[in-house]
């Protein structure tokens, strides 16, 4: 069953995420993917996450497909203009990629090539519309395609936006993304289930599946770092304390993730696990949750 079908027929879907390496060595990435294969409904492959130059999402998605995993091709607007974006979408389809996650992308100044020219010819909303247009057999210029894709497009939303205005805008943008063709959402990492539940109530009427994001906490330091530097992520003090006082960080990290995912089962339509290097621990988490 592919990801699209899983969203239709399952009550609660599971996706994970891998970030390609800097370089051509894909052994570890594929090993990690192999470990979680069959336990998740799809795996996202990030697109130069944090604006750090690495192996591309499309190539790794293609490799996953070859290994029998349904990939979600993350595509940002940071590095490509509308010609390159559309062309890469067609290429991705030809390589067997069926799911696309449309993102704006971090600014280049955040990464390891801060001198780079930011592109942002399109934004996540217009990219979604372009995907829809390609699905209909036309490019942005209105030219007919010889052979059209049939992508399953998704987008992201940040339920933990830190001010009321920011949250309101997130919801408005979410609506725009749905109008533009988004069929599913994956969220930024969530640590406060009460806030998330409130958010889900507000977007219930959109009737578009939301996969709550879970970032595996590796340490108290990581939690503090995210609170300071990652927009929309807030780890509450009790969780930081838990990580600080534990003798077994891995065990506690898994316990926290399990609690969050159990909580999400009644709130949203699935979970998106971001392990950030701890991909090997995902099977343990899922086993504990009973997924």
């Amino acid at each position: 069953m592919d990801f699209k079908e899983a969203l239709k027929s399952k009550n609660f879907v599971v996706t994970a995420e891998i970030g390609p390496m800097k370089g051509t060595d894909v052994q570890e990435t594929l090993k990690d993917a192999e470990l979680i294969k069959g336990k998740v409904d799809a795996i996202n492959v990030t697109d130069l996450q944090s604006s750090v130059m690495r192996l591309g999402s499309m190539a790794v998605c293609h490799l996953l497909k070859d290994h029998g995993i349904d990939p979600i091709f993350q595509m940002t607007c940071r590095d490509r203009n509308r010609l390159a974006l559309q062309s890469d979408l067609l290429s991705a389809w030809v390589l067997g990629i069926r799911n696309v996650l449309a993102l704006t992308g971090d600014h280049p100044t955040m990464g390891d090539h801060p001198q780079a020219m930011p592109v942002f010819d399109l934004d996540s909303v217009s990219l979604l519309r372009v995907i829809g247009r390609l699905n209909e057999g036309f490019d942005m210029g209105g030219n007919q395609l010889k052979g059209a894709p049939d992508f399953f497009p998704g987008a992201v939303v940040n339920p933990g936006a830190d001010t009321e205005a920011a949250l309101e805008m997130q919801i408005i943008k979410m609506e725009k993304k749905i109008e533009a063709g988004a069929r599913f959402f994956q969220t930024q990492g969530i640590y406060d289930l009460k806030l998330f539940e409130k958010f889900m109530k507000r977007v219930e009427s959109f009737k578009t599946p939301v996969l709550g994001g879970v970032i595996l906490l590796k340490s108290a330091g990581m939690a503090r770092f995210m609170n300071k530097n990652v927009a929309g992520v807030f780890v509450p003090a009790p969780l930081i304390k838990e990580m600080e006082e534990t003798k077994d960080k891995v065990k506690t990290s898994i316990e926290i993730a399990v609690r969050l995912i159990r909580g999400m089962k009644d709130i949203c339509q699935g979970v998106h696990i971001m392990a950030i290097g701890w991909e090997k621990k995902i099977p343990m988490v899922l086993k504990e949750v009973g997924l």
């Binding site: 509308r82 993102l103 704006t104 992308g105 971090d106 600014h107 100044t109 955040m110 930011p118 942002f120 010819d121 399109l122 934004d123 996540s124 909303v125 217009s126 519309r129 942005m140 992201v156 940040n158 936006a161 830190d162 001010t163 205005a165 920011a166 309101e168 805008m169 408005i172 943008k173 609506e175 725009k176 109008e179 533009a180 930024q188 927009a231 929309g232």
Partner: protein
Amino acid sequence: MIKFEQKPFEEILGYLTNDKSIFILRCKGCTKVNQANAESDIMDMKGKIEGKGIDITGSAIKGFLCMKAKSVLEELSETIGNPSSLLIMACGLGVQSVAEATDKIVHPACNSFVDKETLKTGKREYRCRTCGDCVLEFTGGICPLTVCSKGLLNGPCGGSSHGKCEVSKEIDCGWVLIFERMKKLGRLKEFMSFLEPKDYRKIQKKKIA
């Protein structure tokens, strides 16, 4: 207004490798920026060039080189003498205007920046990119192309935090400004509008009115 700052001297000296003599022209600045230290900038530059085997035929400080380069050069024609090149201490506009008005080699001595004040109040392209397809109707009179670091047209990215931009905590998130303004005006319906990607032909072939 464009703010200028002197390039590292070693870089300037590299430009002068083939020069036997130069004339130094410093812009006096515009109404608000670049006015301070004009005299000492020239003295400083002269001091650094002395002893490098390059003759300085003279120097001058003149305002608004961007607009008055031609008349300034006419006025200075005798003072300038016959140097092998001109060293211009001005913003990129000033250097280009001087280059347009003379057949001599023109060396830029400065790097140009948009200063913070200008970003807020400037009336040139920093605030309006003359995109040829104005969207201010939908954005509360605040241009998303110039006020958002990514020039996004359909709302903020995920990097907006506490009303600030992911690029720097010193920069306001443009979309928060737009949202708050539209909300205050009771125009959130317009805020919802989808804005089409820009037609870059209109930006490249700017009409000069």
